[in-house]
C-alpha cells in the first residue's frame, strides 16, 4: 500500500531468516560450546549431554524469549492502533501491573513457580477486566477515558508492588526484582505461549485492514463500514491476553512493545497487514538476541534482559529516525 511497495516475499524471507539466525545463535552460544552440527543432531532427537543442554535449557529459553518478544511487539502495535497514540505500549493499561501484583503476592507467600505464573496471569486478567469495567467497557469509551483509567489502575498496581517490595524479607526481594525485570531463564514451558501468539496473529490478520481504517479515526472508520465498537473490544481483549501471556512467561520486559512497532513503522510504513506480522517477528528476534547476549556477555553473571533490549534497540531506532527526516 505504500507508494514504493515492499516486495512482500523478500521482506518475509529477510525477517524469517533473521529470526532463524537469532534462534540458532541462542542454541549455540553459552558456557559450554556446542557446534551447529550438535545443535541439529540435538533437535533431531540425538543423545548426550550437549543434546540435553540444547533441548532442556537453551531451546525452551530461546523460544520463551522469542515468543515473549513477539507477543509484546504485537500487543504494542495493537495498543497503538486502539488508543491511536504513538506512546502506547502493552503495559500502559495496567496489564503488567496487575500481573506484577499477582506474582509478588505468590512470591511473598513463598509459593511454587507454577503459582507465581498462575497468580500473575490472574492478576493481569483482573486488571484488564477492572479497566474495561471502569472505562464503560461496551466499546463506547473515548480513548482518553480508556487511557486514563488504564494509567490510574497501573499506578495503583505500581504502589502495591512498591509496598510489597518494601515489606518483603531480603531473601525474597531478589527473586521479586528478577521477576519484575523479566527473566527468561525460568521459562520451562514456552509452548502454550507460542500457541497463543500464533492464534492471536491468526485472529487479527483478517482484520488488519480494518485496523488501518480505525487508525484514521473512529468516525472515518464507522463511515467506511468498520464495526468500530466490536473491533475495539476485540482489540482490547486480544492485546491484553497477548500481554498477559508474555508477562506471565518472562516478566515485564520493557521497551520491546513500544519500540518494535515504531521501528517497523519507520522501516516499512503503517500498513497493519505488514506491520503486525513484521513486528511479531522483529520483536521475537530482538528479545532472543537480547536474552542470549544477557546470559553470555559477562557469563556466568546474567544481565537483566530489558537492559539489553534497550542497548540494542535504541541505536537502531535512532538510526532509522535520522534516516526519515520529517
Amino acid at each position: 500500500m505504500r507508494p514504493h511497495r515492499q516486495q512482500p516475499l523478500v521482506l518475509a524471507a529477510g525477517l524469517l531468516s533473521a529470526a532463524a539466525l537469532a534462534l540458532f545463535w541462542a542454541l549455540v552460544a553459552g558456557d559450554m560450546p556446542i557446534g551447529l552440527a550438535e545443535v541439529f543432531s540435538a533437535l533431531a532427537g540425538g543423545e548426550g549431554m550437549a543434546a540435553d543442554i540444547v533441548r532442556e535449557l537453551r531451546l525452551p529459553r530461546a523460544v520463551a524469549a522469542f515468543v515473549c518478544g513477539g507477543l509484546l511487539a504485537t500487543a504494542g502495535a495493537l495498543m497503538q492502533v486502539l488508543l491511536r497514540n504513538p506512546l502506547a505500549d502493552p503495559y500502559i493499561l495496567g496489564i503488567s501491573g496487575g500481573a506484577a501484583v499477582g506474582a509478588l503476592v505468590a512470591i511473598t507467600l513463598g509459593a511454587a513457580s507454577i503459582w507465581v505464573d498462575t497468580l500473575a496471569f490472574a492478576g493481569a486478567l483482573t486488571a484488564m477486566l477492572l479497566v474495561f469495567g471502569l472505562a464503560h467497557g461496551d466499546g463506547s469509551w473515548t480513548q482518553t477515558r480508556l487511557l486514563l483509567t488504564g494509567v490510574i489502575v497501573a499506578a495503583g498496581c505500581g504502589a502495591a508492588v512498591t509496598l510489597m517490595l518494601a515489606l518483603a524479607p531480603d531473601t525474597r526481594v531478589t527473586s521479586m526484582l528478577f521477576w519484575l525485570m523479566g527473566d527468561a531463564s525460568g521459562a520451562a514451558r514456552p509452548w502454550p505461549a507460542l500457541v497463543v501468539l500464533v492464534l492471536g496473529l491468526a485472529a487479527v490478520m483478517p482484520f488488519a485492514r480494518d485496523l488501518n481504517v480505525l487508525a484514521r479515526g473512529e468516525l472515518n472508520a464507522r463511515a467506511l463500514g468498520v464495526s468500530v465498537r466490536k473491533l475495539r473490544i476485540a482489540l482490547y481483549v486480544l492485546a491484553s491476553l497477548l500481554t498477559a501471556t508474555a508477562v506471565t512467561l518472562v516478566g515485564s520486559v520493557g521497551f520491546v512493545g513500544l519500540i518494535i512497532p515504531h521501528l517497523v513503522r519507520l522501516a516499512l510504513g503503517n500498513d497493519q497487514r505488514v506491520l503486525i506480522p513484521a513486528a511479531a517477528l522483529a520483536g521475537g528476534t530482538l528479545l532472543t538476541l537480547a536474552d542470549t547476549a544477557a546470559r553470555t556477555v559477562i557469563a556466568p553473571q546474567q544481565l537483566p534482559v530489558g537492559v539489553l533490549t534497550a542497548l540494542i534497540g535504541v541505536p537502531v531506532f535512532l538510526f532509522l529516525l535520522a534516516r526519515h527526516p520529517r
Binding site: P206, N212, R216, L219, A223, L224, G225, R273
Partner: protein, 265 residues
C-alpha cells in the same frame, strides 16, 4: 421535498425526524427526501446540531424520533459495508496520529470495496490517483499527510471520499481550510458529479456560507439552534426574515445579475 421519478427510490429520506441531545431538542419533527441529481445544504448557527443531523442521516447515530432511509431501506437493513459503498461521509476533522503517504490515505477510501483478504489492486490505485487529480493534488502521492497544509489535508480527505465512490455524498463543512479558489472548485466538482447525465449521485452538505448554499443547493434545511427547522426548496427557505431569525443577526437580501445574495447588516 421533490417528486422523484417513480422508478428510482430517493437516495435519502428522513421521516418525521427529531433529534435530542441530553435534554435539548436540536430539531423538531421534519421530513425530507433527496432524489438522485439533487443537492441539499444544511445551514444554521454554531451548535445548532448540523453535524449531529448529518451523522444521523449517515446512519452513524440513532434518531431520537422517526426514521432515516437510505436508497429506500432503513439503515438496519444495510450491512455497514454495503452502506459504505452507497453513502460516504466527509468528517469535519481529519485526525492524523501516525504519518502516512497521501496515496495510502486516499486508498483508505477503497476499504468497503475490498474483500476481507483483499489488497488494493492497480485499479484501486488508478482510482485513488484520479481522485487526487480531481482535487488538484497530482504529484502529492508520496507526501506525508503530516506535512500538508490544512487546505491540502482537506483536499486529501475529499479525494478519499471520491475514491470511496459512493452515490450519496454527506459533506461536513467541505470548505474548511480551503481558499476561495478551491471552495468554488470543490463545490463545482460535487455539482458536476451530482448533475451529470447518469443522475446517480446526490449530496448533502453542511455549509456556513449562505451565498454558496444559494448558488449550489436545490434544497435547504435551516436549523435555528432552538429546535426549529425550516426544510424545503431553496427559495422557500432562503428568505431574509427566516435567516435573520435563525442566525440571530439581521440579514438583507440583494439581487444582482440573476443571483441572490444575503449580506449581514
Amino acid at each position: 421535498m421533490s417528486a422523484s421519478r417513480i422508478d428510482v427510490p430517493p437516495l435519502l429520506e428522513a421521516e418525521r425526524l427529531a433529534l435530542q441531545v441530553g435534554e435539548r431538542w436540536l430539531c423538531c419533527e421534519f421530513s425530507l427526501s433527496l432524489a438522485p441529481g439533487e443537492c441539499l445544504a444544511l445551514l444554521g448557527p454554531n451548535g445548532a446540531g448540523k453535524t449531529t443531523l448529518l451523522h444521523t442521516l449517515a446512519g452513524l447515530r440513532e434518531p431520537s424520533v422517526g426514521q432515516v432511509r437510505l436508497g429506500g431501506l432503513p439503515y438496519a437493513a444495510w450491512s455497514p459495508l454495503e452502506a459504505a459503498r452507497f453513502r460516504g461521509l466527509l468528517p469535519q476533522q481529519q485526525p492524523d496520529h501516525f504519518g502516512a503517504s497521501v496515496l495510502e490515505t486516499v486508498l483508505i477510501g477503497r476499504h468497503p470495496h475490498l474483500g476481507r483478504w483483499g489488497w488494493e489492486t492497480a485499479e484501486d490505485e488508478a482510482i485513488a490517483r484520479q481522485a487526487l487529480a480531481d482535487v488538484g493534488l497530482q504529484g502529492f502521492e508520496t507526501r506525508d499527510v503530516l506535512t500538508l497544509s490544512g487546505g491540502e489535508r482537506q483536499r486529501v480527505a475529499i479525494a478519499t471520499l471520491l475514491a470511496q465512490a459512493p452515490q450519496l455524498f454527506l459533506l461536513d463543512e467541505p470548505l474548511n481550510h480551503l481558499d476561495l479558489h478551491y471552495q468554488i472548485a470543490t463545490l463545482d466538482l460535487f455539482r458536476r458529479l451530482v448533475r451529470n447525465d447518469a443522475a446517480r449521485h446526490g449530496a448533502v452538505m453542511v455549509l456556513h456560507d449562505i451565498n454558496l448554499a444559494a448558488r449550489y443547493a436545490d434544497h435547504i434545511i435551516l436549523l435555528d439552534g432552538r429546535g426549529g427547522v425550516k426544510a424545503g426548496d431553496r427559495d422557500a427557505v432562503l428568505r431574509a426574515d427566516l435567516l435573520s431569525q435563525a442566525f440571530g443577526h439581521p440579514l438583507r437580501r440583494f439581487e444582482s445579475e440573476g443571483r441572490v445574495l444575503f449580506l449581514p447588516d
